[in-house]
Each structure stands twice: as structure tokens, then as C-alpha cells.
Symmetry: C2
Subunit: 218 residues, 2 copies
Amino acid sequence: MENLRVTVDIVIFTVTNGSIQVLLVKRGVPPFEGQYAIPGGFIREDESLENVALRELYEETGVRNVFLEQLYTFGDPKRDPRGRVITVAYYALIASDKYSLVAGADAAEAHWYAANDLPPLAFDHRSIFDYALERLRNKLEYTTVGFQLLPEKFSLGELQAVYEAILGRRLDKRNFRRKLALLGILKPLREWQRTGHKPAQLFRFAARHGNQEVDFDP
Amino acid sequence: MENLRVTVDIVIFTVTNGSIQVLLVKRGVPPFEGQYAIPGGFIREDESLENVALRELYEETGVRNVFLEQLYTFGDPKRDPRGRVITVAYYALIASDKYSLVAGADAAEAHWYAANDLPPLAFDHRSIFDYALERLRNKLEYTTVGFQLLPEKFSLGELQAVYEAILGRRLDKRNFRRKLALLGILKPLREWQRTGHKPAQLFRFAARHGNQEVDFDP
DNA sequence: CCAAAAGTGTTAGGAGTACACCCATGG
DNA sequence: CCATGGGTGTACTCCTAACACTTTTGG
């Protein structure tokens, strides 16, 4: 087929101060000029889809080695007014201490926006975002992706805050901690965090079998 | 990017005689001439991805209105020796009483093969199949997709056989039935199946809210 | 009468949920 | 001394899993 293009778009999540945030760029050209969009780019010859996502991610945030997973492919013929553009959507999780937004990378400024109060998005990016958040919520329940959003050393309170931010509801502290203890994936450190109150013990994530990174990659 | 093409491939499952089967076509042209492959086709202008899948499905099996779900997009630059071909993979479930293979549709014969004894597959189709089966197994546990593989009226024994065929292990009859009763999604009929042994009562699937068809479709 | 599948309850263990108080620190 | 988050145990419910015998039919 002629006139067919393929892009890779990425929903990039982080959690700061108990609030889940998404990286958006302001479009500088039509269509949807001036509106916000999920970062993305066209694929290059001989570049894998995941690589496009990693490249975009690096260009926007300067971050490598993050959790990245393919989400869904959006191919409605009318999703882009310029013509037939299929997008393979990914989502990524980056730890709050790792990113540093790269200014002017794509001639577009990238900024974080609270996921529960997003501005209107270009194209079908709202659908993509909604699906990404849904997927993240589901994955949180039966995998350990949540740890990808934390620094290497963290307190149980910080961990719980990440879960609560993503799920959008409060969790019971005792039940949360018991479940973690049962999973046996936390390594307690001989370090304590001084925060102005009772110091919190720090932990490190210690997965049994390396299933915390890319989930499926044929 | 030039020279980029997008195909839609479909893993089509059915269950017959307690055995899960996949539809394969024998390739008549290089590359991989003479080898087996998952059915698929190039997308047309102004045709949604799902529509391509539905069209292929209809051409191969003469079936419409089946369960169809997008699986994953495979985009490795070397997956097709002819050039850059990205494939959006779908999987479909069709009831054992519905299909009738259409002969010579694509100048290629389509036949069913037992999923646990597939011949070598062309391209990366083995990966696609593996992922489809994994997804189907997972979905079986927390959705009602299994009913898509049965005729409208079925016995509990037939239903259990479908589950066992997909999961690849035996299930406990009493636990299986209790769980179904608890779900409350089966409508018992005043009909019994005569099979040479004690007759089995027939049931009909009666979902509460129509979530048994397409799972996500933005 | 025999082979084959249908049908049917109970018990034990594990996971999830609800719930309240004392502790250690910085200011 | 007080405000703030850290840290801890118990009881109930529900789901899961293990497990065996009787019934009905066709041949």
C-alpha cells in the first residue's frame, strides 16, 4: 500500500510526590498545532520498533535502561488527518530520580502533567493514554513493575505511595506490607531514611528471576 | 520511510475432540515456499487493522462474528527476507460447529493442525503462535472467552474439555462446575444430550454484560 | 451386566480485607 | 510536647484444591 506510515508513540509515566505523571509535548506544527501529544516518531529503516521507542525515550528524557513494554497498535484509517498513519504504542516507567528532561529535543518542549488532570490531547492520544494507564494498573497487581518507578533504595512508605498513586485509591498499610513480606522480593538494608519523623528503613528490590524488565520480546 | 509494508496475521484457534487446533496455510511462493504459515494479508488503504483480520478470517473459514483480539505487533527488521514488513498479529476463536474451510481461497490450502504438534513455521510465525497460545491461556482464566469455542448449546463435559485442551492439563470436575455455578453465566436448558452414556444436560452461555466479544477496541 | 461419562459435598489451607495502637524523630 | 509517618497482629471471609461414590444410559 502507498502512503502508509508507521510511528511509535510512547506513554511515559513517572510518579512524583504521590502523583502519577505523564510526559507530553506541545505540538509546533499542524495538525493539532499548539495541542499536547504523547511523544513519538517515525520508524527508520532497519530499526526495531522497540528501538524507536528507546530512542524517543532517550531523546526526551535522557534515560536508558527503563521498563518498556509494547501496548497496542492503533490503526484506524482516520486517526491522522494527514493520511494513513499506524502507530505502535508503547509505555515506559521511569524512576523519579532518573530523568532529566531534555530541552528543545524535538523543537518541542516536554513537560510532566498529572495523569488525572491532562489537557486535551491530539489525535487519538487520549485513547492511547487511557489504555496505557489501564494496563499499568493491571500489571501492578500481578507483576513487580511498580519498582521501576522508585529509586534503588526506598522506604515502604514510598513504595506504597507509588501503588496508591497509580491505582487511585488508598491501601491498607499492614496488608500491603504483609503481602510484600510474603513475596520475598525486598532486601532490607541497614540504612534508615531521616525525614523529620520516625526514620524509615530502606529496602532494595531483589527479584528472584529477572522478570521485572521487558515483559515480552520475541 | 520507504519500502515499508504492514501485514495483519491471524492465529485462528478451534477445539475439536478435546484437541486445540490452529489454522495454517501452505506457502506457494518464496520465501519459505512449501512451508506452513499463519494466514495473513497486506492492509488496504482505508481499511482498519481489525477489518483486515476479519476479512482474512472470512476468506479462509467463511466465518463472521467471532471473537477477535489484537495480540502484538512484530516488527523485527529481519523478520521477512523480502524487506521491512511489520505485522500486526491477531488471534481469533471459532466454534467447532461454525467453520467450513474455504478451498483455494488464497491459492493456498488451509488446514487445521494440532497446536501441540505443529510443523515448522515460516518467518517468525512460531513466536506469534506461542504468544497467542499464552495469551489465550491467560484470558481463559479471567474472562469467558472459552465459550467462543463452543456451539450455542453444550454440555458441561464439553466445556471442561475445551478448558483442558487449551490449558493442557486436567481439571477437577466438581471444582470446575462449582466455579461456573458461582459465576452464574450458564443458562440450563430443558434439553439433554444423548451420547451412549448417561445423558448430559445442555446449557447456553448467558453473559451479564456483553464483554465476551472484542475485548478492547478504541 | 458392563463400560463410560454425568452428577454431586465436604474439608483444609491460603489469600484478601478490615481494623487500632504504640514508637521514634525533628521541630 | 506534639505532629507526623513508621511499624506491628488478629479475626473473618472467600476462593482454591483435594478427594470418591452413585446414577443413567447404550451396547
